[in-house]
């Protein structure tokens, strides 16, 4: 036992040393090279500049586009496993969540009750924050939208996602004492961010996920430290703090048709949910991995702000339009590039 252990550490040490030796003198060079590669590829994919036919309506069914790359069967299987695990697995764990140069730790619990996922998430650092979310999946699933949560699992959803991202397998690593396969979803245009997800080999659960901006800039990292896959007790799904927010399944998947038209959305994004708010409405768009939400609200002239606000990986671009002498505040929120949010906000059109 002790022998095994020392052997292991020796191995770990030497590989670490090798990496350091290799990396430190060459690091600046390597960084420069890495920074160049994605940028060099990006322009081809930028809509409007490339030769690829762009659909300004953005509502073109993805199926009609160029045949999806015949993805590696292993990647396909892994994506299906991931989608299934995210929706149907019971687990609890400790997680680190980094963005904005700050790292926080969280406790997450994912249970299934009456076939619906119930999630509890609680920050263990900083101000006490806790949320319990339950029963929100039913309507999305009933609707059968290919982009709903289990979307990756269906062939159509998978195909759509592969039209927008190129999936690459990037080796293996160990996270939370488990073997994981590293998958990279590389965006095919400049309107979405990339993802690097380490998928648990056994269950398909994402053990680590990075949101990556162009040039390899990591905006956010969510990573398990400890994972427990045993069944979840009811008590674990109860809020642990008095200030916990409970979120009931009030979302609708495509059940409300928005009265606002979108003049343009990035290709591959489809409206997947819409909801009426007290002072306006919101419409959610997704390409299967990334999502943004368009809010159009009557908030009064004091909210006629034009500009963007950023928190971690999330950007909110605010704009306003005037329809029949009424002021409406438009806010586009999402984990998408700033420019894309701005373009979408400008594309909100007068209702018919």
């Amino acid at each position: 036992m002790a022998k095994d252990f020392s052997l292991l550490t020796l191995k770990a040490n030497s590989s670490l040393l090798a990496f350091l030796l290799f990396a430190s003198p060459l690091l600046p060079v390597a960084v420069a090279q890495e920074a160049d590669t994605p940028q060099a590829e990006a322009p081809e994919a930028v809509p409007g500049t490339g030769s690829a036919p762009q659909n300004p309506g953005g509502a073109a069914p993805a199926e009609s586009r160029v045949a999806p790359p015949t993805g590696d069967a292993e990647i396909q299987a892994l994506l299906g496993k991931l989608a299934n695990a995210v929706a149907n697995l019971e687990y609890r764990g400790l997680v680190t969540f980094e963005h904005m140069g700050v790292m926080e730790t969280l406790e997450v619990v994912h249970g299934i009750r009456n076939g619906e996922p119930v999630e509890r998430i609680r920050f263990l650092t900083g101000a006490p924050r806790e949320m319990v979310s339950r029963g929100h999946d039913a309507q999305c699933r009933r609707d059968g939208s290919p982009l709903s949560r289990a979307g990756l699992w269906s062939n159509m959803g998978l195909q759509n996602v592969q039209n927008n991202y190129q999936f690459l397998q990037r080796g293996e690593e160990r996270i939370a004492d488990r073997e994981a396969v590293v998958l990279e979803a590389r965006p095919r245009d400049a309107h979405r961010f990339g993802l690097v997800v380490s998928v648990d080999r056994e269950t398909g659960l994402p053990l680590k996920s990075l949101l990556v901006a162009p040039a390899g800039r990591v905006l956010e990292r969510f990573q398990f430290v400890e994972l427990d896959l045993t069944a979840i007790d009811d008590s674990e799904l109860q809020p642990h703090s008095a200030s916990a927010r409970e979120s009931e399944g009030t979302g609708h998947c495509g059940s409300l048709v928005s009265r606002w038209q979108m003049g343009w959305v990035p290709s591959g994004f489809k409206a997947v949910a819409a909801r009426e708010l007290a002072d306006g409405e919101m419409q959610v768009f997704s390409d299967g991995l990334s999502a943004f939400t368009v809010f159009v609200q009557k908030l009064g002239p004091s909210m006629n702000y034009r500009g963007r606000a950023v928190r971690g990986a999330t950007v909110a671009y605010m704009d306003h339009i005037e329809v029949n002498d009424e002021h409406y505040t438009v806010t586009v929120v999402g984990e998408i590039p700033d420019n894309t949010a701005q373009l979408v906000a400008k594309a909100v059109k007068t209702p018919r």
Binding site: V86, H110, I121, M131, R174, V212, S243, R245, A273
Partner: protein
């Protein structure tokens, strides 16, 4: 051109040193450069340290190199005063006065340091205490997240973007053309009303995104992150 490369390398070495990951070579390079460039590198180093301390929420007394220099200068200036008092031994009262005066003036210098330090702390701490986001304006090195495993090639060195420190969204209004002398990233301190709106839409978005995406619980983490205790 080569200067830019050199500068970039130095920057990288400096942040590596911040993270305690600088190689022997890089340390040598930094030491060499700090000799050559005078105070510039040293000042940046101490600013980085200061920013890091502030981000960790430590109460810090910034080491103001300029202040240290001016204290040295002040003490140097003082010597002729006591020296000139010695020869005028005829005037005993003056000698006594100078003997009393000397420690007193040293104390006065020390008090000045303490005051400046406290003032410095308040200036650094106040924005954070107020829950505002001005802290982000402090020059901050790009922070390297701790790497447990060598990253697979292709997305090397994922530097965590440090766009903001507080849980509040950061505001950047659209630039008006013709605005002069304005830096391209003007930070606006938003009205509480605007802040509430931004927090609300970000939370609503994240919750909805959790329902349609395949990202597991990440969107829930985002939704809960900026949550405010009820006021």
């Amino acid at each position: 051109m080569s200067h830019g490369n050199h500068q970039q390398r130095l920057d990288e070495s400096l942040s590596a040193l911040m993270d305690g990951e600088a190689s022997e070579l890089e340390v040598q390079r930094l030491l060499k450069e700090s000799d050559a460039s005078g105070g510039d590198l040293g000042q940046r180093w101490s600013r980085y340290q200061l920013a890091a301390s502030v981000m960790r929420g430590e109460k810090v007394a910034p080491v103001n190199l300029g202040l240290a220099a001016s204290i040295s200068a002040a003490i140097a200036d003082e010597l002729p005063l006591t020296a000139s008092a010695e020869p005028q031994a005829a005037n005993d009262a003056s000698a006594i006065h100078s003997r009393w005066w000397r420690p007193l003036s040293r104390g006065a210098v020390a008090a000045t340091v303490a005051f400046a330090a406290v003032l410095g702390v308040q200036q650094m701490q106040a924005p954070q205490m107020g829950g505002d986001e001005l802290v982000a304006e402090i020059e901050r090195p790009a922070q390297q997240p701790v790497q447990s495993v060598p990253q697979p090639s292709g997305f090397l060195v994922p530097t965590l973007n440090t766009r903001s420190v507080s849980t509040n969204p950061q505001l950047v209004p659209e630039q008006r053309i013709g605005g002069m002398g304005v830096s391209p990233q003007v930070q606006v301190v938003p009205s509480p009303e605007l802040m509430r709106h931004l927090n609300r839409v970000m939370m609503e978005h994240s919750e909805q995104a959790a329902r349609v995406g395949s990202q597991g619980m990440v969107p829930f983490a985002r939704a809960t992150y900026g949550e405010r205790p009820p006021e």
